[in-house]
């Protein structure tokens, strides 16, 4: 799989260092990118991958070190100048203009014109053709925001690739893609490679890294751990280098921390959401959770998983359905009424719905805890500090201190801040939508352990994850969804990845046996 590295590199970074507010983000890191080669950049959150990419693409400026493009020193002052020099970047969160059509997005910044007017015919035709080449079927005249996240991501990639870049950087390109789309993407990567493009591939998904990459560079805590051909590295070695833990120790810990909490699930259901209906979105979905139980919602993207959680939380209007918490029927379909009953939800998109990035950790956590801490309209600073400290310790939030801005934290730590905010409310029912998305292996295990721990303490947990393994190992009951309809319910030992996939695949024909 590895290509012989004999040519001189297209792009090389030498001894790059960068600090933010005195905190080291990157120290003395060097990498070389070669034409027709896929270079994986792996490491936990906060390892410095994003910083490195942003230094290459002109979003940040180096404190020290050099970047060379084809042997010449370059210092891009903006992403625009990097793009002009042939460095295209696809960021983790889709960064396009959702209100504009697919074709307009595809050509944004390099629109073909005739007599000063956009050549819409040509744009629609060429965008359609290009997307078709990459196996994406989409109406190019529709606003991009109306399409699924996966397709948006593919459009972003196709857009970047079509700019005739000599270096293409992909930051977690598959984080919102389904397996079929991942295959497409990797095909696209192969096409680029054949065109002698140098590719940087950042991913948490080790399968993809081993499948697609020729060279793997591991970063940890802002430092370079190792660089070398993929063929000389085993999966186990890679994981241990990323985590900085002994391979043997890792073996002992097992794969996920969710498994095996199965303790006293008993008593009356704490959450009873039955026959939830919403035209075109949900069709007779029922979720019942007892104290101590974790109910997983499984299904593909767009199957109604998030919508079910939102409906339970009162954030999605319902046409019909009954929702009870602690035996009390809730008639107002509003989040406020759920919060009063101590139902908490961790939203899927933490950037858009959860975190206030420019506020400190202390304020982000304290905000949620305020109602309990307020006496006669006054808040004790000390009490807030105590609570914030407790949660920072308990969730092991890695930061320079409680006053650091949340936007400066890594994705995993941001997620923990959000969790802390929820836990401040002392919830009885916890709705977790993709709690481990986009966070690294180590933080993932911690978050998973935390979920299990919370359930053991008697909370009713609803868990959504696009990683089937996580749902299977972490849930006591799994509700399987497709196109907004409930396909079935698996309990206990019946839960397995195969059974869930069978349910989804042959929903119409196969008879599934579920326990009880």
């Amino acid at each position: 799989m590895s290509t012989p590295v004999t040519s001189s590199p297209i792009l090389s970074v030498t001894s790059a260092s960068k600090r933010f507010a005195g905190v080291r983000a990157l120290e003395d890191v060097s990498i070389e990118l070669h034409a027709g080669s896929v270079h994986a950049l792996v490491g936990e959150n906060g390892a410095g991958k994003s910083t490195l990419i942003k230094l290459i693409t002109g979003v940040y400026q180096l404190d020290s070190g050099t970047v060379q493009l084809r042997g010449e020193n370059v210092a891009f002052d903006s992403p625009r100048s990097a793009q002009r020099a042939g460095i295209a970047t696809i960021y983790q969160e889709v960064h396009l203009a959702p209100q504009l059509s697919v074709a307009r997005n595809f050509f944004l910044g390099r629109e073909p014109t005739r007599l000063g007017s956009l050549d819409l015919k040509r744009m629609n035709r060429e965008a359609g053709d290009a997307l078709k080449r990459y196996g994406i079927a989409a109406d190019v005249k529709r606003p991009l925001g109306e399409l699924g996240l996966g397709i948006q991501q593919m459009v972003a990639i196709a857009r970047a690739v079509e700019t005739d870049a000599s270096v293409v950087i992909m930051d977690e390109p598959t984080s919102s893609l389904e397996p079929r789309e991942v295959d497409l993407l990797l095909e696209l990567v192969a096409q680029l490679k054949a065109k002698d493009v140098a590719i940087v591939y950042v991913s948490h998904k080790l399968d993809e890294v081993f499948r697609a990459c020729d060279t793997i560079t591991v970063l940890r805590d802002g430092k370079l751990v190792s660089t070398g051909p993929t063929s000389e590295l085993t999966r186990r070695q890679l994981i241990s280098r990323m985590l900085g833990r002994d391979a043997a120790e890792l073996e002992k810990d097992g794969r996920t921390k969710l498994a095996g909490h199965k303790t006293n699930i008993e008593g009356e259901p704490l959450l009873r959401a039955e026959h939830l209906n919403r035209r075109l979105i949900l069709e007779d979905v029922s979720v019942v959770v007892r104290p101590g139980e974790v109910v997983g919602l499984a299904g593909l993207l767009g199957s109604g998983r998030s919508e079910t959680a939102k409906a339970i939380f009162g954030a999605l209007p319902l046409d019909s359905g009954e929702i009870e918490v602690g035996g009390k029927a809730l008639t107002h379909q509003t989040p406020a009424s759920r919060i009063r009953e101590r139902v908490a939800m961790l939203p899927e998109d933490r950037k858009a719905e959860g975190i206030i990035p420019d506020m400190s950790i202390r304020d982000n956590i304290g905000l949620a805890a305020l109602p309990q801490l307020t006496k006669a309209g006054l808040v004790s600073r000390k009490k807030v500090d105590d609570i914030v400290k407790t949660f920072m310790d308990r969730l092991r939030i890695k930061a320079s201190g409680p006053n650091q801005k949340v936007s400066e934290l890594s994705g995993g730590n941001q997620q923990k801040v959000l969790l802390a905010r929820l836990l401040c409310l002392n919830p009885r029912v916890l709705l977790l939508d993709e709690p481990t998305r986009g966070i690294d292996v180590g933080a993932k295990a911690e978050v998973q352990a935390l979920v299990a721990e919370l359930a053991e303490k008697g909370m009713a947990v609803v868990l959504i994850s696009s990683e089937l393994e996580e749902v299977v190992e972490g849930s006591d009951t799994v509700v399987v969804l497709r196109d907004g309809a409930q396909l079935g319910r698996l309990v206990g030992d019946d839960i397995s990845e195969d059974k869930i996939m069978d349910l989804i695949a042959d929903a119409a024909s196969e008879r599934i046996e579920a326990a009880k």
Binding site: L108, S286, A485, L503, A508
Partner: protein, 346 residues
């Protein structure tokens, strides 16, 4: 509680119905975008038709012509404002810039129409350019920068006019007077100019790379930067466009009235212009908006005022109160229409 384990029949039904669902979704989508994009147009048509039926004098051609003429000055300003707001900004300085243009065009009228118009537009464009550069380069809040512009330029106007005491008159034989007083097919020149401005504005917004940048920057500035769009240049240009529009409107005012105005002319025009843009369905948060909507919004503002003047015998203060209330009703109606359309989409 035992949940239903499987429901084969139901799933079959869902699968079979899939095509129908898609079609329903597509229908809902097109209706949605039609209403949300053209809510102001729909309300305008409704108000004009009802108004003409209830208040006979409102519907007379002469009256409608006058309403259109009166609306054209704020209309041209609002066209420029639409770009600024879609791009995620706001321009509070347009009323003062407008006043500056009326004075300069009147002052330089003795040196010929061309010079008068050119200098007025240059001055107005320069005001926009300076504000745009400050906002884009130094990333300062547009609200504050243009508030400073509002105050500073207004001060300049008082200074130039000797604290508002000078009212230069322009020579009635000058060509440039026809810009204000002329007419084509019985409709005043300013109305035609406004329509041309909106036509060009629509084209620039929807059919040029610049317009794409404006929408992308307003939708998500960070994303636009990462995509390599010329964010700063775009932000600067929209304020120049806004300044030029305010300047053009000022020139037309001088042309129509035949001379320099009181120094306080154009006071609070920025609010009318912003109101027109917002009524037209452009989001104050940026990214989404339409020129057609702004045109309808401006006309709505003036139609409502006129209807109240024509329809009820009230003193001018009561007129303002009623006018404000009516405007509120119209905005609520429009919001309800677009919101209903909006929720049926998700």
């Amino acid at each position: 509680m035992t949940a239903p384990t499987t429901k084969p029949q139901k799933t079959v039904a869902v699968a079979a119905d899939h095509g129908g669902r898609e079609a329903a979704r597509a229908r809902a989508r097109s209706l949605t975008s039609l209403i949300s994009r053209n809510g102001a147009v729909a309300v305008l048509i409704l108000v004009v038709v009802l108004g003409a039926l209830i208040v006979p004098s409102f519907g007379k051609p002469d009256n409608l012509r006058n309403v259109a003429l009166a609306a054209s000055f704020i209309g041209i300003i609002a066209a420029g404002m639409t770009f600024v707001i879609i791009c995620g900004g706001i321009d509070l300085s347009v009323g003062s810039t407008y006043a500056l243009a009326t004075i300069i065009s009147a002052m330089y009228a003795p040196r010929g129409s061309f010079i008068a118009v050119l200098y007025a537009l240059l001055a107005a464009g320069l005001v926009g350019l300076i504000q745009g550069l400050i906002i884009a380069r130094w990333r300062l809040p547009a609200f504050i920068v243009t508030l400073a512009g509002l105050t500073g330029v207004r001060g300049l106007v008082y200074f130039i006019t000797n604290e508002g005491n000078d009212h230069p008159k322009i020579d009635g034989r000058l060509a440039f007077e026809a810009l204000g007083t002329g007419s084509l097919a019985t409709i005043g020149t300013p109305v035609w100019i406004m329509l041309v401005v909106f036509g060009i504005g629509w084209w620039a917004l929807n059919r040029t790379p610049f317009g794409q940048s404006v929408q992308a920057v307003g939708g998500n500035q960070g994303a636009a930067e990462l995509m390599g769009l010329p964010v700063k240049r775009t932000q600067t240009i929209v304020y120049v466009v806004s300044g030029l529009c305010a300047g053009l409107s000022g020139v037309l005012t001088t042309a129509l009235s035949g001379g320099g105005q009181e120094a306080r002319i154009g006071d609070a025009y920025e609010l009318s212009a912003i109101a027109a843009v917002v009524i037209g369905g452009t989001l104050l948060s940026g990214g989404v908006g339409s020129m057609v909507g702004t045109l309808a919004g401006v006309l709505l503002l003036f139609v409502i005022q006129n209807l109240i003047v024509q329809g009820a015998n009230l003193n001018s203060y009561v007129q303002q109160v009623v006018s404000g209330g009516f405007l509120l009703v119209v905005v609520i109606l429009q919001a309800v229409l677009s919101r209903r359309a909006g929720t049926s989409e998700t």
